[in-house]
Each structure stands twice: as C-alpha cells, then as structure tokens.
C-alpha cells in the first residue's frame, strides 16, 4: 500500500487542514491497523523510530494512547506528562523546547494549554508535529477517531442524522466534529439549552455551505429518529450557580427512558470521560459505542504515525 501519494501532510495540526479525501485515506489506513491495534497481529514498521510525547498539561489517556499506538508498531516513546517537569517552568519558550526536543525524536506529539501552540510548534520542529490538543483549540486525532467510529459502525459518514448534545457553545470537540461533518452529506441536530447552543458564527457558516441542521433543547425529544447521538459533558463552571447547573444537567441525562422510542440502529458516542450525561445502565444496551470509540483512538493514531513517518505498510 502506497501511503504518501494520498497524504502530503507534514504535520497534523487542525482538522480544518484536511480534505475529505485525506480524511478518508487516514480512516482507510486505520482500518488496516485494526488487527495490530487489537494485538492479534504484530508489526514493527516503526522499529527504530522515537516519538516524543510533549505534554505541557496532563492528559493521561491521550498520552497513553499515543504511546500504545507507537509501541504496537514497534516504535519507542520518550516525553514528559506535565509542564512542571519541562523547561517551560524555567521560562523557556515553546519554540526553543520544540527545536531541541524535535532533534531527539522522529515525531513530536504536543499537548499544550494555549491555542495555536501546535501551529507554532510546526514552524519550529524539524520533525512532524501531531497536535494532541491545544487549549480550547484543536484536537484533530479526537475528531478523526470520532469519524472513524461513525464510518465503522454505519458503513459511511454521509447519509446519517447526527445529534450533537452538551456544551455546544464552548466545546472544542463538538466544533471540530461539526466542521468535519459539514464536509460530508449529513443532517445535524444541535441539542443544548439555549445559553449553551452552537455559536452564531458556526451556524452561519453551515447555512452558507447549505448544510441542513436544526436546534433542540431536550435530548429525549430530539433523539427519536437519529442515527448517531454524540453526547458531551456540560461543565459546572459554565453556570452561575449549582441550582442552575442541576436544572440543566438533569435534562441532559441519557438513560433507559431516553432510549424508549429510538431507532434500533442508534449509536451513542461520547469523547469520555463522562460524568452524569450517560447513565451506566445504557452501557449494556446495543446503542452504546463510547468504549469502542475510545479504543478506536489506537488504530487512528497508528495510521497517522505511519503516514507522517512515511513508512511502507
């Protein structure tokens, strides 16, 4: 399988840099990674390669998943898990840290609390940079694994009615996902209380691009004819007081009652960790896919590492 021909990216910074063809190519390669990701087959296509995990803020699970992806392919990892142990505490610029650390490794994975950090890193790094989340900005591997999950479960991304629920105003995950889905032929339903609805600019862009969407306040009412329900967390700190939060949080719970009249094929996704948005009783139904979704992060990250490192599969 030739990899480079359909993927000319030097870095993976933002999902907005991707065309549909490039997304589909990453997802195709990810599918071929499944047996290795699950440990049924072994691979050493990245043997001798080193990944530097530079995590300026902790995100244990993201870090572990990159580590697992690299090691499944025979590569190795170095890195740090928080800013406390990096030189940034001593006042070093991110530019300098990247210049130095990219000379130690073959690929750099960056997690940083400031928006645009990965773009800056890509300008100073001598090696490919993979954005693992920059502040309220981009987290492209999350979006790609979300798309991978939808495609894997539904055969394709286009043609689905997708409900997106939670904090749509501030949530970076849902903004990136909405952007990516708008490149496909999907119908979107945004489910959130009015103060946390999708920002006007994003809705305006969807209208201009001719994307069909509607807005709902209540999950139970919106869920009926959806193919996919993507649930995200509503954060307590967005509300003026506990009482207001509880009022909303209560109506944002997916439980057995929510699922009474839904389509048999409905799948429920969540970027995790969840708090109260999805009751544990839902885990055992045929609808839940959030744990598979998290597992899908491994083949998707394996695909990106192989593509960026330009190895033959």
């Amino acid at each position: 399988m030739k990899l480079k021909s359909e993927f000319s990216k030097e870095h993976v910074v933002s999902i907005k840099d991707f065309s549909v063809d490039e997304i589909e190519h990453v997802l195709d390669v990810a599918r071929t990674m499944e047996p290795v990701a699950k440990g049924r087959k072994t691979s050493d296509i990245l043997r001798g390669k080193i990944l530097a995990n530079l995590f300026f803020e902790p995100s244990t699970r993201t870090m572990l998943s990159f580590e697992a992806a690299m090691k499944r392919l025979g590569g190795d990892t170095i890195g740090f898990a928080s800013a406390d142990v990096s030189s940034s505490k001593k006042g070093e610029t991110l530019a300098d840290t990247i210049t130095v650390c990219s000379s130690y490794a073959d690929i750099v994975v960056l997690r940083h609390p400031q928006e645009g950090a990965a773009r800056l890193a890509s300008k100073f790094s001598s090696k490919p940079v993979l954005n693992a989340g920059d502040g309220a900005g981009q987290h492209p591997t999350q979006t790609l694994l979300d798309l991978y999950t939808i495609r894997k479960e539904k055969g394709e991304i286009s043609g689905n009615k997708i409900g997106i629920a939670g904090d749509l105003k501030y949530g970076r995950t849902v903004h990136s996902l909405t952007h990516a889905l708008s490149m496909y032929d999907t119908e979107m339903t945004f489910i959130a209380p009015q103060p946390l609805q999708m920002p006007k600019e994003i809705l305006g862009r969807l209208s201009r691009d001719g994307i069909k969407y509607d807005q709902q306040q209540n999950i139970d009412e919106a869920v009926e004819d959806l193919d996919v329900l993507y649930v995200t967390r509503i954060q307590r700190e967005r509300f003026p007081n506990e009482e207001e939060y509880l009022k909303v949080a209560d109506s944002y719970n997916v439980n057995m009652k929510t699922l009474e009249d839904v389509d048999d094929g409905l799948i429920i996704m969540h970027p995790l960790p969840r708090v109260d948005e999805i009751s544990a009783e839902v885990d055992d139904t045929d609808h839940s896919r959030y744990f598979e979704q998290a597992a899908n992060g491994i083949p998707v990250r394996m695909a990106l590492l192989s593509l960026l490192l330009e190895v033959e599969l």
Binding site: L94, A95, G116, A117, R119
Partner: protein, 157 residues
C-alpha cells in the same frame, strides 16, 4: 460644504503622500500602523480630523516629502477600507488609488484571544489570513479565531 472651504483646511503639499477618506476618528490608528508615531520620524505630518465630505465625515493624514510604499499603505485597509492614497509631486497628484486588503497580515494586529500562543513570549509575530474584505474579517493562523473590524481596530499593536 463647498470645495473652497475644504481646501482651506487641507492645504496642498509640494510633495509626499496624502492619505484621504480615512474613516472618521481613525487617523491616529492609521499613523500608528504606518509607524508615524515613532519619535524617530522626521517627516512633517499633518492630520485633519472630522472633515466634512460628500459622504459624511472623514480624516486626512498628509506626510510631506515621503512617498509611502503600497504594501505599507495597504495595511490601512484593515481599519479603513475606503481610504485613498494620493502621491504628490510638485503640487500635482501623480498617482491616486484606493488601499487594497492584503491576503496576509503580519505584525500590525495582535490576536484578540488572550490565550493564543501568539500573545505569549514566543519568537513570532502575530499573523492573520484575510477571510473577507467587506466587511473586513481576518483569522489568526495560530488559534484560528476570527476578528471583525471593531476588534481589529481595538487590537492594533
């Protein structure tokens, strides 16, 4: 207001650059963008604010003895897209054109997002992609936030 009265306020210059049709109240920001507020500038600069014109009030800035380059002047379009530039030689306008919005903006505006990496102590200049001209809309190449006219004007470096 008659043509005659206008010429009294804006006396002609022998040579240099006349920046006309600046949006009312934006002349100081225009000077800032052009670096004319720096103390090292030795050119004679005169400003006229709130001048009546056929389409409402405007500001005018005149810089004597210096022909400012287009690239420099085009930056003004960010805060005042209707601005026109007149290059004067020997009391005659030898070149007249409207400022044009460049495709990329570097170093004149800072990003409105305080948590943007371009607002930290890093060895880079803020940089924006121009998304649209009317109304002006630019997008930070780092954090991808978009900025509208008023926001741009508030964030001139």
């Amino acid at each position: 207001m008659s043509e005659e009265k206008k010429t009294i306020k804006i006396s002609p210059i022998k040579k240099g650059t006349v920046i006309d049709h600046i949006r009312e109240g934006q002349s100081l920001k225009v000077m800032k963008i052009l670096g004319l507020t720096e103390t090292v500038v030795k050119d004679v600069v005169s400003i006229a604010m709130n001048v009546e014109s056929s389409v409402g009030k405007k500001d005018i800035v005149k810089v004597e003895n210096r022909e400012i380059g287009s690239d420099e002047l085009d930056k003004i379009s960010l805060i005042s897209p209707e601005t026109t530039i007149n290059i004067i030689r020997d009391y005659t306008v030898v070149q007249k054109k409207r400022v044009q919005l460049p495709e990329r903006i570097k170093g004149i505006v800072k990003c409105k997002n305080r948590n943007c990496i371009s607002n930290q102590r890093e060895p880079i200049e803020p940089e924006f992609k121009v998304m649209s001209g009317e109304p002006v809309n630019i997008k930070c190449i780092y954090c991808e936030r978009e900025m509208k006219e008023e926001e741009i004007s508030e964030n001139i470096v």
